[in-house]
Point group: C2
Chain length 360, copies 2
């Protein structure tokens, strides 16, 4: 992969290419650079030329085809900081209690990104959306994916109401740097506060419709199913379309299985709460019996951003189970056990994050 330095990554799959950064590198910065952002591909990575245009149309919208240069010239530029997290982040913890679909992501299928682009709402206004708020924006992409053994163009939908809140972007840059092919060059959608799957890369068309997309990525995959649905003869309508996600947190330093020296230890990680504020992060070094509060590293983090936290503790030689959980400003926290949130597709793995550390 030419997009990331593989020394900083754990590759989960070669084809399609899926990789997450080492947590210790990921957590170094508040803003994740493109070179440290996880890559989640559903098919081969498309390489679109500089003259690639996104087609717009459907349901009374004026038809248009706009290149990156035309979007940049025609609409105000916006920069938004928003965490992007794969719905399957931390799936390895679910797989530890039961088989699921999907790659065994550790804690790195997330990044906290400064996106630059234009508001999709501004573009739709220019194309005649007027006061309409009912319906869906269906976004098609250039990649071809396999779901349940069949190949389909990648296609997702989000409600027009969400788009018209203004912060949904057609983005061309991460941290001021043009999107690399792996991250959707030349233009991708960014839906702040939604699971990564909705932020379609390599956009080819954006259409207004009365109904959501029936493509498998939208209608079957990336849904949360109840525990009595085990993945055979699935009633796909029973799943919840994953958009916002539950409060989550993880320890990035030290790593599970590390051996560290006795004395001062700094535990570092992230937390995020999807449209709510992270009110508190609790850390335990004894498996969850005694908890203490972590301090926030990032003061004044943006609403859809992550919040890095730090906990300083003196440790004597021995074996420790370190645990983290976050609490949002509605008092909502994470479930204790992965088995309580197991689902056959392996999404929304948000149980308390636990690691084992030996102190010598």
């Amino acid at each position: 992969m030419d997009d990331c330095d593989e020394a900083d990554f754990v590759v989960r799959q070669r084809e399609p290419f899926n990789a997450e950064p080492l947590p210790s590198r990921l957590i170094e910065q508040y803003l994740t650079p493109q070179s440290l952002l996880y890559v989640r591909s559903h098919g081969a990575i498309p390489h679109l030329g500089g003259n690639h245009a996104i087609r717009f149309g459907g349901d009374g919208l004026r038809d248009a085809a706009l290149t990156l240069a035309e979007l940049k010239a025609g609409f105000p530029h916006r920069s938004i900081v928003a965490a992007m997290q794969c719905a399957g982040n931390r799936r390895a913890d679910l797989q530890a209690v039961g088989k699921t679909n999907g790659d065994p992501w550790d804690v790195g299928a997330i990044g906290n990104v400064e996106w630059t682009g234009v508001s999709l709402g501004d573009v739709l206004r220019d194309l005649g959306i007027g006061d309409r708020r009912k319906g869906y924006i269906v976004c098609k992409a250039a990649d071809v994916d396999e779901v349940e053994g069949e190949a389909h163009a990648y296609e997702i939908s989000i409600t027009l109401r969400r788009v018209m809140e203004g912060d949904v972007l057609i983005s061309w840059a991460i941290g001021g740097e043009p999107l690399s092919p792996a991250h959707g060059a030349p233009m991708r959608l960014v839906v702040p506060g939604y699971a990564g799957v909705r932020s379609a890369k390599w956009l080819t068309s954006i259409e207004l419709r009365d109904e959501p997309s029936a493509a498998p990525i939208q209608a079957k995959d990336y849904k949360l199913f109840p525990p009595d649905e085990v993945g055979r003869d699935v009633d796909w309508s029973k799943g919840l379309v994953i958009e916002a996600m539950p409060v989550n947190s993880a320890i990035c330093v030290p790593r599970n299985g590390d051996t560290v020296d006795a004395g001062a230890l700094t535990v570092i990680g992230y937390a995020l709460a999807y449209g709510r504020r992270v009110a508190r992060v609790d850390v335990s070094i004894d498996g969850g019996r005694y908890w203490a509060g972590a301090r926030f590293i990032d003061v004044g983090a943006a609403p859809d951003a992550w919040q890095r936290w730090q906990y300083d503790v003196d440790v004597a030689p021995g074996r420790y189970e370190m645990v983290v959980r976050a609490v949002d400003d509605a008092g909502q926290s994470q479930p204790e056990r992965a088995r309580d949130v197991w689902n056959f597709a392996g999404y929304l793995s948000t149980a308390w994050h636990r690691i084992k550390v030996e102190v010598r």
Copy 2:
């Protein structure tokens, strides 16, 4: 108490009067009538006359004193359905794992109410609020309460931003019936989607200020503290002011300890998700090993309303532990165990609700 038929209530405290309805009565209707709404008083119930006026003022607002008749005549009437839940609802489950402050509420310190009144935002606009959105609305009430051994007038604050969303009401009626003295006659605040404590009863003044109220109800009580704060020499600044609450659910029928006949059994309860939609309710009759989906009784419930659910099952003779948990549309669910959310003040008791039932 002249406000409720005590045959339908469990009285938790006489002075001040605190009582919750029998869950089997509470769950009969989507809209809770005033006669079945829990009563939470912090002091003696004030009896204010028909000419009682609320004083408005502070920070550049035009001073005014408005009676119920003047509010009714001067502003558009609004009706809003919103659940009102005490931050201490289900506290008995927390007290089962550790001592806390407060009354041992079962599952009845909640009601789903149709409120009628005027928008406080409309009143503030009339008094010259203009475009201002920074600051706090401080609401004083006629009751006097004791917090930490000291008597204070009841006083809470909410952000001006929240008020100007429009659905915060000065309300005079529940289900079309004038407020009884126990529920705040003649006029109370209603803050949809916030814990009951913010919906101050017996309003006497509403003031715009730069800072939140420093009164103990706002600044000390009704805060969520971390588990390492055990209630001695409390650092009050460490608590999270409780406004929105976590997703919650409870079984209302049958009751804990009931004996029922073998055969068809209907389990009924409520769920609510504070600004999010209740996406799913899971029920288990074997203590949480196998879960099945409940069906919703109320289709199209309002955003801040509860959602009643029902689960029909055939049961053979034996002992059962029945459990419920709700999942919101961000995939957020409830914690498994009460000990994981214990806090010394006994708030936000939202672990899976469990009851024991014998089938004969």
